[in-house]
Every structure is written in structure tokens, then in C-alpha cells.
């Protein structure tokens, strides 16, 4: 990225201050935009979490820990633990599926690759609302899948396949799968074919070569992909709300209910801050563990 900037800068050493002026001009609008629409809202969210709650969905600015203390009740902790378990399970399943898919796609001919990419991007961009709705249709008694399962004798009677944990899980995997395949795609297309090929000529089966030679080469991207899934699903809201039972409710549902129905904005804000803090903590932990594990440092 810098290879271009260096020769250009070397050429004009004296109008260095002119560069600064141009740069300031270029970046003034984006800076203003991000301060107003990102930093101020973030600050307000944190401030809100320390605010004092008043009746009727109102609150006034303050610096109290009431809301944070409420987070320690077992009910919230249970929901938070469930959210993270759900996110981690989704991560493991979706990465295990996406890894071979991304590898195979990166080895296809150009046309086939583009077809897969267009298909993946189209489903990736599809609203969670529409996907959850589609799953509702697919899993309902009249949705075809149930009829097929009954006809095959796998199910005894016609009844819908949701709400339950499995429906939530499958839909979440569906939602993140295109993201993860596309996330792993660059790393897979950069992989050298010579090493797995060498392993197969030395007698390893293709599946074995894939698992013992290819997988370790992309350990880093696989781990990042898993983290990305956790980040995406830990705050999931609509899928557990529609396809799950109240036992499968997540922090995301608590936060939006708090904000939209019960009108306790300070508590919702505290829950949101806690969720982000837990996520950042998890990221830090993984980074620490991987750094300790790698021989380089």
C-alpha cells in the first residue's frame, strides 16, 4: 500500500506542508461525519448506562451504577451465558462447513467461482427478517420439508419443526455461512497447491492431506472466522425471538425489549455496554492465547 506513496512523496519534498493542507481538506468531512455520527452516539450510550432511571420511560443524567448492579442478577447472567454458548456453537459448526466450501470454490474455474460468489453475496445481503421468515415457512407444517420427512417415514405426523433450539441454530448457521465462506476465500485462494499435492503423492488420501496439511496452514484465518461468527451471533435478536422459545432468548432480545417495550433505556444501555465489553474481553483473550501459542514471539 505504501509503495506508491513513497516515490511520490520523495519527489516533492518542499511542498510537504501543501500535502498537509490537502490532507486536512480531504479528511475534514469524514472526521466531522464520524465524530457526530459515531463518537457522540457511542459516548451517549455509555453515559446513558450510568443515568438515573425515572418513571414512565424517562431518565436523567447521572453517574450511578444501579443498572450495572442489576446485571449481576442470575437471570441476566444465565441469558448472557446462553448467548455466548449459542454463538460459540454456531461458530464451530459454520467454520467446519465453510472451510471446505471456501477451499473447493477457490479451486474452481473462473465462471463457476463467479456463480458461487454471486449466489453467496445474494444470500448474505438478504435481510435477517426475510431469512427468518423463509425458515418459518420452510419449517412449518405446510412448508414442504415436513411433508417430505413424513413421506420418507422420518417423521410420524405433520407438525411444525419450530420453535426450538435446533431451528435457531440452523438458521444462525445459514445467516453466517456466506459471510464465513467469503471471509475464508482470500486465504484459500492464496494457498499453494504444491504441498497438499506432495502429501498425496507420498500416499496420504486427499481428505487426510486436507485435514493434516491444508488445515494447519490456515489456522489463523479459521480462528478469526470463528471469532467473527461469535461477534455476529452473540447479539442475535430476531432468529431466537421468532424461531426459539423464551428459554432460547438472548441478550439481544433483552436489550431491544428493554429499549422498546419496558422503556428502561439505562438498563438496556448497560446491557449493551456489558455485551461489548465481554466481546472485547473475548477478543483480547484469544489474541493473548494465540500469541502465547505461536513460536515467533
Amino acid at each position: 500500500m505504501t509503495d506508491l506513496a513513497v516515490p511520490l512523496r520523495a519527489k516533492d519534498t518542499e511542498p510537504r506542508s501543501r500535502d498537509q493542507v490537502v490532507l486536512a481538506g480531504l479528511l475534514s468531512l469524514p472526521t466531522l461525519f464520524l465524530i457526530v455520527l459515531c463518537l457522540i452516539p457511542l459516548f451517549l450510550l455509555v453515559q446513558l448506562s450510568f443515568a438515573h432511571r425515572e418513571d414512565g420511560g424517562l431518565w436523567r443524567a447521572g453517574l450511578e451504577l444501579t443498572q450495572y448492579r442489576q446485571l449481576l442478577n442470575p437471570q441476566f447472567l444465565k441469558v448472557a451465558l446462553f448467548s455466548f454458548t449459542l454463538a460459540l456453537t454456531t461458530a464451530v459448526i459454520s467454520v467446519a462447513l465453510a472451510f471446505p466450501v471456501a477451499y473447493f470454490i477457490s479451486r474452481m474455474k473462473r465462471r463457476a467461482q463467479i456463480t458461487w460468489l454471486v449466489g453467496l453475496l445474494s444470500t448474505l445481503s438478504l435481510s435477517e427478517v426475510l431469512i427468518v421468515f423463509s425458515f418459518q415457512v420452510l419449517l412449518s407444517g405446510g412448508g414442504g420439508l415436513v411433508k417430505a420427512l413424513v413421506a420418507l417415514g422420518i417423521m410420524d405426523s405433520v407438525h411444525s419443526l419450530y420453535p426450538n433450539f435446533a431451528a435457531v441454530m440452523v438458521c444462525l448457521v445459514y445467516l453466517v455461512l456466506p459471510y464465513i465462506i467469503l471471509f475464508l476465500y482470500p486465504a484459500m485462494s492464496q494457498l499453494d497447491d504444491d504441498i497438499p499435492a506432495a502429501a498425496t503423492t507420498m500416499g496420504a488420501s486427499p481428505a487426510r492431506a486436507f485435514l493434516t496439511v491444508v488445515a494447519p496452514m490456515v489456522k489463523g484465518p479459521l480462528l478469526s472466522a470463528g471469532l467473527l461468527v461469535v461477534i455476529f451471533t452473540v447479539g442475535s435478536y430476531l432468529t431466537p425471538l421468532v424461531l426459539g422459545r423464551p428459554q432460547q432468548w438472548t441478550v439481544g432480545i433483552l436489550i431491544s425489549n428493554g429499549a422498546m417495550t419496558t422503556g428502561n433505556l439505562p438498563l438496556a444501555a448497560a446491557q449493551a455496554v456489558a455485551l461489548v465489553a465481554l466481546m472485547v474481553g473475548l477478543l483480547g483473550l484469544v489474541r493473548l492465547l494465540t500469541r502465547a501459542g505461536s513460536p515467533a514471539s
Partner: protein
């Protein structure tokens, strides 16, 4: 040799299953949308375009579609206008400030949807500017900013260094080099970034709902609210339109830009 055949069959079978999984809910919704009856049934018992007619003659659905399309178009334009100087400053000046801005943009994209939705609803509430369409447009453009920044950066990096040097040796100034080399090279990337932000904004519902959901009804919000009250066959038509819009947008993207490269492939591909 035989083992090679087995692994080919296994690979094809696996990919076919994944493709089936990805296609299944979409196929079912498309099928149900052509169903004659009011009750949900797949495969459709009798084919009919009745619900399409109902969708396109319903003022409420059409208004939602129009609202969705205008929000996304404006959000895409704003996001790209803000992203361009950031990506350019990172590439041309290797500016630390621009890198920090890019980092803030992509960090925001990684926050859970509920958190950003709550953040923006608090922000617009305190600004005393509630339930307006601009709230959704601006919130979408800032939340999706990381995408155009990343895509435009790929574009800038792909510009041949030699071409700019050639332009300079031929006596072109910075402005001319920009016009002759940078602008034409960047056009497809700008287009791709616009399409991408447009499609993602079109499908976003949680922020839109929490920021202005009661007064600004985008199509996903309408589906979302009827999702909780009960099934309506016109919802399927709305879903089909969005499936087709996304598919059309990304096919266009594949036709205009080098999709494998845009998705991060650096090695050239044989046709």
C-alpha cells in the same frame, strides 16, 4: 485413480448439499408466493399470480418499497462520498489520521446490531429528531462505512504504480495524473461499493426499526411487524422481490468488476 474418482464424487456431493441448504428456504418462499390459496403451502397446490397483483396494487407495500429504495440509494451515496477521501488519503499519503478513521468505520460495523441500534435511537432521541427518514439514511451510511472504505482501498492498491510514474514523466501534474489514471481505474470499484452498501442498507431492519420504525416503514420493517402478527401471502412476494434485487445487483457487480479480486483473490484465475 479410483480413489481420485471417489474424492471427486464426495466433493461434488458435499458442495451440492451446501448449495441445497443455501437454496432451500429461498426456493420454498418463491414457491409459496405463487400459491393460489391464502394458507401457506409448498409445493403450491395451484399456481397463481394473485399475490403479486395484490402486492403491486397495495398502496402500503408500494410505499414501503419506495421508502426502502430511497433510503438505500441515499445511504450508499453518502457512505461512498465519505469513504472516498479516507481511502484516498490512506493510499496516497499513507496518512495515520485516515487509517484511524478507517479503523473507526470498520469497528462500528463489527458491533452487534442491537447495540448500534440502541446507540442511534438514544442519539436521535436526545437530538430531539425522532422518527425521521434522515435518521435511517445517516445511521445506515455510517454503520456501513467500513465496506466502501475496504473496497475502495482494494481499488486504489490495484492502480499500477508504473502508470502514474509514466504520467508524471510525460509532464502530468498530480491533478492530470488523477484524471488520466486514478479516476478511470476507480470507477468500477466506486460502482461496486455503491451496489454493496445499497443492498445491505436495503435489507437492514433493526436500526431502521429502532430509529424511526413507527413512522418510516421500510419493506423489511413491514415484513418484521407482520411476522409477529401472522402470515400474509404478500409477505412472500416482498421476500421474492428482495431476493431478485440482491441477485440482480450482484450479477451486475460481477459484470462490471472483477468479483474474485474484489472478494480478495490476488492470484490471477484462468477462464
Amino acid at each position: 485413480m479410483n480413489e481420485g474418482l471417489v474424492s471427486t464424487i464426495l466433493r461434488r456431493g458435499f458442495l451440492a448439499l451446501v448449495a441445497l441448504f443455501i437454496a432451500a428456504p429461498l426456493v420454498v418462499v418463491i414457491g409459496v408466493s405463487f400459491n393460489e390459496g391464502r394458507r401457506m403451502s409448498f409445493p403450491p397446490s395451484e399456481l397463481s399470480l394473485k399475490w403479486y397483483k395484490a402486492f403491486f396494487t397495495d398502496a402500503g407495500w408500494m410505499k414501503s418499497l419506495e421508502t426502502s429504495l430511497s433510503i438505500s440509494a441515499l445511504a450508499a451515496v453518502i457512505a461512498v462520498i465519505v469513504a472516498l477521501p479516507i481511502a484516498y488519503a490512506v493510499w496516497r499519503y499513507n496518512s495515520k489520521a485516515a487509517k484511524a478513521l478507517a479503523g473507526v468505520g470498520s469497528g462500528l460495523f463489527l458491533l452487534p446490531g442491537v447495540v448500534t441500534a440502541l446507540m442511534f435511537s438514544a442519539f436521535w432521541g436526545m437530538a430531539g429528531h425522532v422518527g425521521r427518514i434522515e435518521n435511517v439514511i445517516l445511521s445506515h451510511s455510517v454503520i456501513l462505512l467500513g465496506i466502501p472504505v475496504a473496497m475502495l482501498s482494494v481499488g486504489f492498491q490495484s492502480i499500477e504504480k508504473a502508470l502514474i510514474e509514466a504520467a508524471h514523466t510525460m509532464g502530468a501534474g498530480d491533478a492530470e495524473a488523477f484524471r488520466m489514471v486514478v479516476r478511470p481505474a476507480m470507477t468500477p470499484y466506486i460502482l461496486c461499493a455503491l451496489v454493496y452498501v445499497f443492498v445491505l442498507s436495503l435489507n437492514e431492519y433493526l436500526i431502521a426499526y429502532m430509529v424511526a420504525g413507527f413512522s418510516v416503514q421500510t419493506l423489511p420493517i413491514r415484513v418484521f411487524t407482520s411476522l409477529r402478527s401472522g402470515y400474509e401471502p404478500t409477505m412472500c412476494v416482498g421476500a421474492v422481490i428482495f431476493i431478485l434485487l440482491g441477485f440482480a445487483a450482484f450479477s451486475l457487480l460481477a459484470a462490471v468488476g472483477d468479483l474474485p479480486k474484489l472478494m480478495g483473490r490476488h492470484r490471477p484465475l484462468e477462464a
